[in-house]
Amino acid sequence: MKLRSAIYLASAALALAALTLASTLPSGAADKVDPAADAKAFRKFFTDKFPKVKLEDFVNGPYSMNEDLYRQWQEKEQFPPYEFSLEMGKEMFSKPFKNGKTYADCFPNGGIGIRQNYPYFDEKEGKVITLELALNRCREANGEPPYSYVKDEMAALTAYMAFTSRGKPMDIKIPNDPRALEAYEKGKEYFYTRRGQLNFSCATCHVQSPGERIRAEILAPALGIVNAMPIYRSEWSGMGTTSRRFTTCNSQIRAVPLSPQDDEYRNVEYYLSYVSNGLPISGPGARP
């Protein structure tokens, strides 16, 4: 009862505040999307929930949530399971295409140390461009067939590109373009919308339940979750990209997965990366 009246009081106060705000601001300003405020609140939610976890450690997913696991992770990093993929990615990255050009020709700074700027909003196209998408476009522009978006070669290439960017703070920009703001907002909506037969949203597990066990696994916090991509998962016995994570999450909650690099997935990645701004790139990662 007490809680209920407190909620009434709070909502009344909120409504009053909204009214006051609405009367002082130009119309429409009260429901304006504010990514910067979102990101601040998002980060605060996690640092309040896990006061002992250092901000830069959230990028280590489940390993940041538990001291025993953290130790396991440090041991794992001595002989990381993604090493083979990383080596392969490095080799692939420097090997010229049939036309003599390389991946370096497609990216700023020769593709080195730039992972933290992806995905970005392309104002010409009016859409979000992920690193995987940019890599396949690079291949196609040079007469090479595109790779699968979920694993193998694509994971190897992004592993190498992430590795050269390790420690750089995620730096996603939202240009002054209503379409960019819309992409961000749509990604946010996807992230918080329940779906599938099991009725889960991304947030159900990765905002409401990080650190909790789901059978033998520990759920990762959403803050910084993309900074570790791509990852080697023991469960997959191999590497996977962000696309692989999104599609398998959707299957696990018994929803119909979208095709990798669907506009909606690109928007979610844009949202999730933006709210993880400032946290270091830690990919490639290793997960149970």
Binding site: L198, F200, C205, E212, R213, I214, R215
Partner: protein
């Protein structure tokens, strides 16, 4: 001519046999309903532990289950916490009606389990 009709003394065993049969039938009914209840509990346990069905263990600690999750509360003393069977059925059907933020899937509403399966799981829960 021999008497084809049974004598009085010969009829007694028939009566006794009938009484015995009746007792057997009653006994069978009693043990059948006990067995039925027991098999519903067993079925409920199986559904609760089955990853493709109830999969309750993924989020709840349950006596007798390995590698439980920690997202939901431990499932103990269910009968004292929920004396009314229909409350348990309601939670399994769609807990979002009571708590919109719940992580728990709506097993009935989304047809993850049938009505009969939910009944069996509730039978099992009441033994915890």
């Amino acid at each position: 001519m021999t008497d084809h009709f049974p004598t009085k003394s010969a009829r007694f065993p028939t009566l006794r046999l009938a009484a015995f049969a009746l007792a057997l039938v009653i006994g069978a009914f009693a043990s059948a309903s006990f067995a039925q209840a027991q098999s519903a509990v067993d079925e409920g346990r199986k559904l609760a532990f089955d990853r493709g069905k109830g999969n309750c263990l993924t989020c709840h600690v349950i006596k007798g289950g390995n590698l439980p999750g920690t997202i939901g509360p431990e499932l103990v003393d269910i009968k004292s916490k929920y004396p009314k069977r229909e409350d348990l059925v309601a939670i399994l059907n769609d807990e979002t009606l009571r708590n919109p933020l719940t992580v728990m899937p709506p097993f009935g509403r989304n047809r993850i389990l049938t009505e009969k399966e939910i009944d069996a799981v509730v039978d099992f829960l009441q033994t915890l």
